[in-house]
């Protein structure tokens, strides 16, 4: 199997496209999610849904406009609430800080709820190498962990697997009695994971938002594992990207409702948490120690670039669910943590453009992603800008660049352009009846479409004919 890497996109896509099980599973999941999103976002009319989308977009932009100040305000207020706040410039620092906290509290077992930041920095592997037991507790992430794979979607990480595949995995790795019933399979995993929650001495979670004016850490989960992880172990560490801060409680109230409607079509996530601090001394349940690590890991670079728009993202996955490219190739093809249109934008930004050259081209620029984005990120624009940068920075292959330069020369020289047109017209008469090219550089392109026939006359000729004798105009 080829290694997962964004630069292997084309090869990975080629094999993914022919995987029928994968295609069916991904199409089923994304189409369901996309239609649920439509119903939920526009439950109170098209105009109202669009108004809410614009309101959410405004809130995020207003927060980014004051990001450094809001981070300082959030830090002060979280500290006043009893939360220990630290900052990490990159993955290395996050890992060091988490390990230091774990050592300080003599931690052995760690229960994790979903955190995309932790995926970004491969936290699990490092913690396991340091001798900690790490248990992913989101059912999807647990399945991923058992299979030794990567998530293929940011909201529903295991949509690439069929029920039968998960059944076989559970039977093989956990000795589950045979069953094809999703409820029985979930109950079986529930028992195992429940034991894990009860034994864990540290919980690690992500964070969906931080409210600056109150110093509140906010999380949404459906399964309840987020509640377990933040309620049962005596130590809770939350990893939160620095862009997640919002200004007011009211801002949060809008965003935390737009998020689940866009992600899974739910009016609210089952559990919407507002965490203001560690447990009070006379309280039953909740961690005695609560840490928030504010993670940069490339975000301040994005802030200081023309791609700042990407930082508005609230990780709902709506763009992924409508993307025709994602539907065809699935999430693993993108080779890193974030797939789909938002992945095609932020993977190059977070890992370096030269490490993700094919991704800005993994889009038909149809615009569906922008249309569904709850915070109105202009994803097609960002993809075009990235393509522009790839060209400017000469990251393309020498053949590609030579070809493009040749094309530019021909199209700027009227005589050559005319010759090329004539050549194309006569040449296309030689094509087989079905107007397909044999396999070759352009062959792939004509496998699913036909080369359109050349018009008998060019636009120039047509124009000249139409305007004969109307020079006075």
């Amino acid at each position: 199997m080829m290694t997962a890497h964004p630069n292997n996109f084309s090869a990975a896509a080629r094999s993914a496209i022919h995987d029928q099980q994968l295609g069916a599973a991904v199409a089923n999941a994304t189409n369901t999610a996309a239609s649920k999103r439509r119903l939920a976002m526009f439950a109170y009319g098209d105009e109202h849904g669009e108004t809410m989308r614009q309101q959410a977009a405004q809130i995020r932009r207003r927060a980014l406009a004051r990001l450094p100040e809001l981070l300082e305000q959030a830090e002060t207020n979280m500290q006043a609430n009893g939360i220990q706040v630290s900052w990490a410039a990159n993955g290395q620092e996050v890992r060091e800080q988490v390990i230091a906290i774990a050592r300080q509290h003599q931690i052995k077992r760690i229960a994790k709820s979903k955190s995309m930041v932790s995926e970004e920095i491969s936290l699990n592997h490092v913690l396991e190498a340091e001798g900690f037991d790490v248990l992913e507790t989101d059912l999807g992430e647990y399945i991923i962990q058992l299979a030794g794979e990567m998530p293929s979607h940011i909201v529903t990480p295991v949509i690439h697997k069929s029920k039968a595949m998960i059944r076989d995995l559970f039977m093989q790795k956990l000795n589950m009695p045979p069953t094809d019933d999703a409820t029985e399979m979930t109950r079986f995993a529930r028992q195992i994971l429940r034991q894990g929650f009860l034994e864990a001495d540290m919980g690690i979670s992500g964070g969906n938002f931080i409210i600056a004016e109150t110093g509140t850490l906010c999380l949404v989960t459906n399964e309840g594992n987020g509640r377990m992880v933040t309620s049962l172990p005596p130590v809770h560490v939350a990893l939160v990207g620095i862009e997640k801060v919002v200004e007011t409680l009211d801002d949060y109230i809008t965003l935390t409702q737009v998020l689940p409607r866009s992600a899974t079509g739910q009016p609210m996530s089952v559990y919407t948490h507002m965490i203001n601090g560690p447990r009070k001394s006379d309280e039953e349940g909740g961690p005695s120690h609560l840490y928030v690590i504010l993670v940069d890991n490339g975000r301040s670079e994005i802030y200081n670039s023309k791609y700042v728009e990407a930082l508005n993202c609230i990780r709902c996955g709506a763009c992924i669910n409508v993307c025709p490219v994602y539907e065809a190739v699935g999430g693993h093809t993108y080779g890193w943590v974030y797939p789909g249109p938002i992945g095609a934008v932020i993977t190059p930004l977070l890992t370096g453009l030269e490490n993700a050259k094919p991704l800005p081209y993994a889009s038909s620029l149809c615009g569906a992603c922008k249309q569904v984005c709850p915070v109105d990120i202009d994803l097609p624009r960002l993809l075009l800008d990235l393509r522009h940068d790839l060209v400017e920075q000469k990251k393309q292959s020498i053949f590609w660049r030579a070809g493009m330069r040749g094309w530019a020369f021909v199209s700027r020289t009227p005589f050559l352009f005319g010759m090329a047109r004539l050549g194309g017209r006569w040449g296309s008469k030689l094509l087989p009846k079905r107007r397909k090219l044999p396999i070759g550089p352009l062959g792939g392109w004509t496998q699913s479409r036909e080369i359109p026939p050349f018009a008998p006359e060019s636009f120039h000729q047509w124009w000249a004919k139409q305007h004969k004798g109307t020079q006075d105009d």
Partner: protein, 208 residues
């Protein structure tokens, strides 16, 4: 330079994005509630979320309902104070004992709520001494007792109320949770399964 200073400096030295942002004029609620009958709206929305809603006409009826949910169980998790007079006596009479909130082997947990949100069928539970968050988390069955005057229009209305009471009160609460239906997952082939980690059943008892 610490990482904190380094990150903040980089952000502060960047050209300000969206410097021309407009302050929104009118805020809109995600769930508009010109609905006059909040009670009815709450019941409908909660049912849509797979909650079992019991509209009780008296405390007696609510007590009977709780005993029916308890079945043969002899232990229960419960908040200290519930808006249900006679519950302690009724449980005692049935030989049911209250276990410590962190007992993971108890099937049913009974809580009150701090508010209910009609527009989304949600329950707001603040974690406080005597109101352990574990009671609505560990058991397989969660019973929430709601008084009809606790029903607010929507989440925005709750925020309004919270601001009026002052942020100090909100911030002094370690954990404020909005529950919208029983625990669920669709991670296996997009099939909806209730009770992934939290309660699989959520009974809402509404008192007059």
């Amino acid at each position: 330079m610490t990482s904190r200073e380094q990150i903040l400096q980089r952000l502060k030295h960047a050209p300000r994005p969206y410097a021309d942002f407009r302050q929104e004029q009118n805020r809109h609620d995600m769930v508009p509630t010109d609905h006059t009958d909040l009670y009815r709206l709450f019941v409908e929305q909660a049912q849509k979320l797979n909650c079992s809603v019991h509209e009780c006409r008296s405390t007696d009826e609510a007590l009977q309902q709780i005993l029916a949910i308890m079945g043969e169980d002899k232990t229960v998790l419960s908040w200290d104070a519930l808006p249900l007079p006679g519950l302690a006596e009724a449980l005692q009479q049935a030989g049911i004992q209250t276990a410590p909130a962190n007992d993971p082997h108890v099937r049913v947990g009974i809580t009150g709520v701090d508010a209910a949100l009609a527009g989304t069928g949600s329950l707001v539970l603040a974690s406080k001494p005597g109101q352990s968050r574990l009671v609505s988390l560990l058991p397989f069955v969660h019973v929430a007792v709601v008084k009809s005057d606790q029903i607010l229009p929507n989440f925005e209305a709750w925020a309004e109320q919270t601001k009026k009471a002052g942020f100090d009160q909100f911030r002094a609460t370690s954990n404020v949770l909005v529950i919208s239906g029983p625990s669920r997952t669709a991670d296996i082939a997009m099939e909806l399964v209730l009770g992934a980690h939290g309660p699989a059943e959520l009974h809402i008892l509404i008192l007059p």
